[in-house]
Amino acid sequence: MPRLAAADARAIARDYHDIALSLGAHRFENWERLSSARRAELERLQWTLLTYSSDMTTRAIDLQVDDLDAALAGLKKAVKTLKRAVKHASDVRGAISAAARAVTLGAAIVTGNAAALAAAVGGS
């Protein structure tokens, strides 16, 4: 049997609901003319159809989620990539800070000319 699509399940749910609605309208429009047994029968059918419609709507949600396997796998992978990138961004920043510190200190110590270094920085 071919697999039901979410859109098909929705269409069936909608049809069941429309029939249930018509049955209800018919029952109330003809209330006085119907026997109590007929009214009860119509109401029972209406509730059954509403339940079928409700079940079919639940099925539509399930089918919609079924169709998302590939997209969800992609997004889960992206979350991992982003988390790794957040960590790596922090590492990079720490490494660059340390390197910049070493460069700054090295230059200052090698030249021993603090005033000149400061002047160059001030003019940048």
Partner: protein, 284 residues
């Protein structure tokens, strides 16, 4: 002097090569999108609760022996299972936006402690005065910041490019579930509610007119509650559309995430979402 100038030039070069990336707007949009998605579980639980209410109306009419709502929960177990799966989908989407926001917001991470150490070391080892030491250390910190921004920009652009299709697919699916399925669920409940109250009133209003008044009041209250849920549903669908449009805008500008125009548009999307969040919280 030459070595000092070379060092400064090196630091400045890092600044220039890295480029300055404005990712704050991306972070704000991603946070708002994640928070909006986070309102879904309460809405999803309403899909299950509506099933229970419909069963309650049916049982009130058919009277097959039940005591309270808890007796009817089992009949809505399948609905509960389906909405739990939908919530799991939303969780993945919310995680994605949270991770996107975390990477975009990395710029606010502070390294003040390291910079202070650097300043002390410069003062002690190179005998620079504090004002000039600060100038050097500020520049070094800025270089570190923009170099990292360059890396973040690259990663953000890659992920946004790769996942735009998946984000669209998942948001479309949630839009169907909320905009179509949840709308149908509420309509079913409304039909069940009308069948229940109209039957009860038609059968007993003449015999018990005072009771009929109370029944009508109860029906009106429930009908108003359903209307509010429908309105909230419409807002959530609109919010999902805004989330999708924002990500599409990111995708369109993925190679120029620092563009001023993008920042402005993302801020608009974020503002729209931020305004919707309290209303959604109140509704569900």
């Amino acid at each position: 002097m030459r070595d000092g100038a070379r060092m400064v030039a090196g630091v400045v070069a890092i600044v220039i090569i890295s480029g300055c990336v404005r990712t704050g707007a991306v972070g704000r949009y991603a946070r708002a999108a994640g928070e909006t998605a986070g309102e879904f579980p309460a809405l999803a639980d309403e899909m299950r609760a509506s099933c229970v209410r419909l069963e309650e109306y049916r049982e009130e009419r058919e009277g097959k022996g039940w005591f309270g709502r808890e007796d009817l929960e089992g009949r809505c177990a399948e609905r509960g299972k389906a909405v739990r799966r939908a919530v799991a989908v939303e969780r993945v989407l919310a995680s994605y936006f949270a991770a996107l926001g975390a990477l975009a917001d990395g710029k606010v991470v502070k390294y003040d402690g390291q910079i202070d150490d650097l300043a002390d070391a410069l003062e002690d080892d190179a005998k620079l005065d504090r004002k000039k030491v600060k100038a050097v250390s500020d520049l070094a910190a800025f270089a570190a910041s923009v170099a990292t921004d360059g890396y973040r920009h690259l990663k953000l652009a890659q992920v946004i490019e790769q996942e735009n299709g998946n984000v669209g697919t998942v948001i479309d699916a949630l839009t169907e579930i909320v905009g179509t399925d949840y709308a149908n669920i509420l309509e079913l409940e409304a039909t069940g509610m009308d069948a229940f109250y109209r039957s009860a009133l038609t059968e007993g209003a003449e015999r018990e007119p005072l009771a009929a008044i109370l029944v009508r009041d109860a029906r009106d209250e429930r009908a108003a509650a359903l209307r509010e849920k429908r309105e909230a549903l419409t807002k959530y669908v609109r919010a999902l559309g805004t989330m999708k449009a924002g990500h599409q805008r990111l995708y369109d500008s993925r190679n120029d995430l620092h563009a001023k125009a993008l920042a402005g548009e993302l801020a608009d999307y974020a503002t729209q979402l931020e305004k919707m969040i309290p209303a959604l919280r109140e509704a569900f």
